[in-house]
């Protein structure tokens, strides 16, 4: 009965932080119903136990009035001296049966509920975290699905156990009543059938309303999460009241939906009450009449009525099951919207991957993405390569392309001589580390954050030094053991950025891609970081790519690629430029337009983001100093 005895879902190897979680089983990937039953199937042992035990509990409960009736007629109205003792022990045995059945049944049911919920929660989590990506829902939205909806799917496990038990009780009670009187048994059967039909009609309305209820409640939770995460921004403009009013609106909408769902629910209950009342009346009337006219005995009558009263509960359970099922399916559907999300990229299949070696050459050639074509550059081993992008929104895409967070419409992206699409994602990302521009820290200490991906203590130290994070450790009260808060918010902006950089450098990846890594630090610190970064990375023969416009960083780069707009042209279909491209001849074959520093004169075209309209990028390359000297567009972009 303890947690340790529970069949846990397979747990990913946590020894390495990089170990990917296991995918969910095939079951339940296709429809909400399949997902629901697939989740329940995993808990079938507990479900069977709970159903059986609940049934025997219910049977035990139903025997109580029968035994009381029997005791009255056999031991009280007549019978021998010891009859009462005998009947009391039978009653005691029944109590032991019903009590223990309930105890272990409820526990098995809770296990089934919690574990089903847990399994579904882990399916959602696994899908969200899966390397192939594709998840676009807001964190708060994902949260409600992984918490409330998973919980509701789990709760249905309890309903299943109860319903199975209720059906068993109904069957036995019907059989018993049939034994007393065919008429009484028939009344139960008919009553149950009618009740089910009528309640199913009413349940339809409830289904609709409870779907809406979950949707609205989810929206309110999403808003709350979003407001709390953006709290600093809100407070800065004193929009707390506006935000609170927004939340109030969402909460009131959720309240309205809940009240509507509750009114359907009430109707359902009222129908149940009416039916069971009528049914009791009929049984009492028919039974009383049968007894009074001498067709059945007193004991039988008492027992029959006791049974009839008793099956009211199971009847309600059975009739309520369809509403519970509807609710669970609605939640399973919301879960499936996450677990069934299409993957952003297909995982590369070719096993093996990369040759050993410290660095890896990166080559991007003629790539088309986001309405730009001709994205081309090369990063060599042991060098720091700078990429300066003068095209709106494109800079953030470049790191993504290298680790296949997104796929280019056309062109070639290679790492270590292999097309990135062919290598399994895990291996690719183990090779190429992108530190996102807005990288967040994790709860824990400074030291833990820096060492998160470091292969050894020396690497952590090197990362700390390169990012000038040693100064952070010296400044912050508590030093390396200071905690950074939930996402790093107890550090200053520049401190946070340096710790994130230290974490990335400490990982010592063969290819490190940094996007604007020093926007929150002052020029003097930036300069120091640039020098140290170069020293650490180049010395080890590793490849480093900096997507940035910082002169301090670019001046330390061995080579700088300047990507800027040349001309917009119409493309018949993505990746197949026509007319305008003719002017740039080679670009039409997807080859890069590549010039050495000296003759550039980019015409800074605006980013036409329409699919059919592409902006052809020109790549100029050289050293920072050379480009500053010879390239007017570059000079203009980087002069402060």
């Amino acid at each position: 009965m303890t947690l340790d005895a529970l069949p846990l879902p397979p747990r990913p190897a946590t020894a390495s932080p990089a170990a990917p979680p296991p995918p969910p089983p095939e079951a339940g990937r296709h429809s909400p119903r399949a997902l629901l039953w697939g989740a329940l199937r995993a808990q079938r042992k507990d479900l069977v136990a709970a159903s059986a035990l609940y049934s025997s509990h219910q049977l035990g409960e139903s025997m109580v009035p029968v035994l009381v009736g029997a005791t009255v007629s056999e031991a009280i109205a007549g019978g021998g001296r010891w009859a009462i003792a005998w009947w009391l022990s039978v009653l005691a045995a029944d109590f032991v049966l019903l009590s223990l059945s309930y105890r272990y049944g409820a526990r098995a049911s809770m296990r089934a509920k919690q574990h089903t919920g847990h399994v579904v929660r882990m399916w959602v989590t696994e899908r969200v975290l899966r390397p192939a990506g594709g998840i676009r829902l807001a964190p708060g939205d994902l949260l409600t699905r992984a918490a409330s909806d998973a919980g509701r799917v789990g709760a249905f496990a309890g309903v299943v156990a109860q319903t199975v038990a209720a059906v068993a009780v109904l069957a036995v009670a019907t059989a018993l009543l049939l034994g007393f009187s065919l008429l009484l048994g028939a009344v139960i059967l008919l009553g149950t059938a009618l009740l089910l039909v009528v309640q199913d009609r009413v349940a339809r309305r409830l289904r609709r309303h409870s779907g809406a209820e979950q949707h609205e409640a989810g929206k309110a939770a999403v808003l709350a999460e979003d407001l709390v995460r953006g709290m600093r921004v809100l407070k800065g403009i004193r929009a707390e009241r506006t935000a609170a009013a927004d939340y109030r609106t969402a909460s009131q909408a959720a309240l309205g939906a809940s009240l509507r769902a509750m009114s359907s629910q009430s109707l359902l209950s009222a129908v149940g009450t009416a039916f069971t009342g009528v049914y009791l009346t009929v049984i009492a009337g028919v039974g009383g009449w049968l007894t009074l006219s001498g067709r059945i005995g007193l004991g039988e009558f008492v027992a029959a009525l006791g049974l009839a009263r008793f099956v009211v509960g199971p009847m309600q359970v059975v009739s309520g099951a369809s509403a519970a099922y509807a609710r669970a399916v609605a939640s399973a559907g919301r879960v499936l919207e996450v677990t069934g999300t299409r993957e952003e990229v297909r995982d590369g299949l070719r096993p093996g991957g990369f040759e050993e070696g410290r660095g890896a050459r990166v080559e991007v050639a003629g790539v088309e993405v986001d309405g730009f074509s001709g994205v081309s550059f090369v990063a060599e081993c042991g060098e720091l390569t700078g990429v300066v992008v003068d095209a709106p929104g494109l800079a953030g895409r470049i790191p993504e392309l290298l680790v296949r967070e997104s796929e280019p419409a056309a062109g070639r992206v290679e790492v270590g001589g292999k097309a990135v699409g062919e290598v399994p994602l895990e291996r690719l990302r183990a090779r190429v580390l992108v530190s996102p521009h807005d990288a967040v820290l994790f709860p824990g200490t400074l030291a833990e954050n820096i060492a998160l991906l470091a292969p050894d203590a020396k690497a952590a130290e090197q990362g700390t030094w390169a990012a000038f994070a040693d100064q952070v450790i010296d400044t912050v009260p508590g030093g390396a053991d200071a905690t950074v808060g939930d996402r790093g918010e107890s550090l200053s902006g520049g401190q946070r950025q340096r710790v994130a950089l230290a974490r990335a450098v400490a990982a010592t990846p063969p290819v490190l891609v940094l996007h604007d890594p020093t926007t929150a630090v002052d020029a003097a610190t930036e300069d120091r970081i640039a020098g140290r970064l170069r020293q650490v990375r180049a010395q080890e023969g590793l490849t480093s790519l900096l997507v940035t416009t910082s002169p301090a960083l670019l001046s330390r780069c061995d080579r700088v690629f300047f990507l800027h707009g040349a001309a917009a042209y119409e493309a018949a279909s993505p990746g197949a430029p026509t007319q305008g491209a003719a002017a740039n001849g080679r670009a039409a074959n997807g080859d890069p337009v590549h010039r050495e520093a000296g003759d550039a004169d980019g015409s800074g075209a605006d980013g036409g983001t329409e699919h059919s309209r592409l902006t052809l990028l020109i790549t100029d390359s050289g050293t920072h100093a050379g480009l500053m000297r010879d390239n007017a567009a570059y000079r203009e972009l980087l002069t402060r």
């Binding site: 009965m1 947690l3 946590t14 990917p20 109580v64 031991a75 009280i76 109590f95 309930y102 105890r103 809770m110 929660r121 989590t125 975290l129 899966r130 807001a138 964190p139 939205d141 918490a147 409330s148 309110a220 939770a221 979003d226 407001l227 709390v228 995460r229 709290m231 809100l234 403009i237 009241r241 935000a243 939340y247 009240l259 109707l267 009222a270 129908v271 009450t273 009416a274 009342g277 009528v278 009346t281 009492a284 009383g288 007894t291 009074l292 009558f301 008492v302 509960g313 929104g393 530190s435 990288a439 709860p443 996402r487 520049g494 926007t519 002052d522 020029a523 002169p551 002069t639 402060r640």
Partner: protein, 602 residues
Amino acid sequence: MNPTESAAASPATRRLLPVADGRRTRAHLRTALRPRRLLLAATTAVMVAESALGLVGPIAIGWVTQAIVDGRGTSAVIGPVALLAAAAVLGAPATWASNVLLARVVLPEVARLREDVVGSALALPVDTVEAGGSGDLVSRVSGDVERVTEAAQGGLAGFVSAALAILATLVGLASLDWRFALAGLLAVPLQAYTLRWYLRASRPVYAAGRTAEGHRTSALLGAFAALPTVRALRLGGRQYARVQDASLAAAGYEFEATRTATRFFGRLNVAEFVGLGAILLVASVLVRSGSASVGAATTAALFFVGLFDPINAVLGAFDSVQQAAAGLARLIGVLDATPASAPVPAPAGSPEAAPRTARQPVLALDRADFGYGDGPDVVHDVSLRIAAGQHVAVVGTTGSGKSTVATLLAGLRAPRRGTATLDGVPLADVSPAALHGTVALVTQETHLFAGSVAANIRLARPEATDAQVAAALDAVGATGWVEALPDGVDTLIGAGGHHLAPGRAQHLALARLFLLDPDVVVLDEATAEGGSDSARLLDTAATTVLRGRGALLVAHRLSQTAGADTILVMEEGRVTERGSHQSLRAAGGTYASLWEAWSRPG
């Protein structure tokens, strides 16, 4: 699993938001329910009627039984059947009404509570909320609210049927032979003892369970809200394991609670058997001695069996109350954490849009010291003054305390020593409403709220028209790219929406500021994220926003601050240099070397 063990697994470093104690929770409930007194009374009345109709069953059955024992004719069945039929007919509307009324008492109250909690949390100092992590608060307004709703509905209904069951027991006992009643009463001390034991045993389990669910929410949000970083750094496995641990720990408390509850019901079964057995024994003696009828014995025994459910419902209601109390304490704890000076905001249709005259307030820090939490001071003895339309810049190395000074001046944090004043009045004494539109801070952290571009801008002034929003975008030069978005200003951005580069988020923040039109602006690295995309655009936008206003500028890009009237240089929390760009460069100090590093062509 031992609950205390897994509690130890939770992040020990967290300072979660407070949890109210039982007394506070009850006091709050009393006040909150006062305006709903009438509705509550009506609900209770209907519930009493509903439960009373439920008692008709055993009475009618006893009546039939007696008729049978007395050997009367078949027509004797008519009376009891008519009674049962009447109960059925009346029972349906009673059930409907009691459910609907109950929902109308509980749901709006819980909704109001969660709104108040969010309102209060937003009024709390940022540091307090951040210390607990956003997961703590979010789990309170979602998971706890769900639990409270369920338990309150179940608990209230249970309590009413409880009260009635007790009443019926008394009445029933009186109508019975007193000797049967006495026998049945044997169960009561057992039940009382069991209940007392249970309340003690389950309270800590439920409280810990709620906290564990809060940790689970934090773990889930930690994975989901940091998704880009998690994926980039291949931390999926680690986050998965965290969620798994937290989820199993929360489930552990549910198992623990169920174990306790099933023991509770097991003991109640014993009490039932003792009562029932005693009645039957007494009946056998009395019937034999001829001092009681078989009918009376049957009625007494069935009456007692019929009481099992209501009594269990009564006692089970304590379980619901226990669960609701655990959730409520966490909600009310947030309300209580709100400082008295920051009242829960009223639903503001349109905040006081008093016509603003061209005011030029003076914002000043005087010898201010500040430190976070109970840590050492990180800002020492800082004085500065922003008078009519003046621009003051703060520069310095990273971590020197610039952002902290910015928040002190904007009134978001209060200095430990020294003062922060607006026209001589301490900022702490100025109401939030009065500060709205007077001083505004654009923080170093950017956040786009999930919603349309227009909604993000409108946060500053909810009453702004579409034209005003468009004008703000136009003024800061953002119209071009906003219109190029898939749905223009109606494009959904923020979490789950269209992705915008950080520079664009900053651009929108400036547009928001323009719409807000405050007297004094504090820009903390508000143009730092320009990067490759929009440095120029942001610079122009900032110039527009600053025109004609007092301002405090914090920037590493020194070209942004060179034009300021006064430049302060901060080092390790102190202002070490002060003067104009020219004079500071000439002085050859820290500023001169910073400027040197900045303007070197690379």
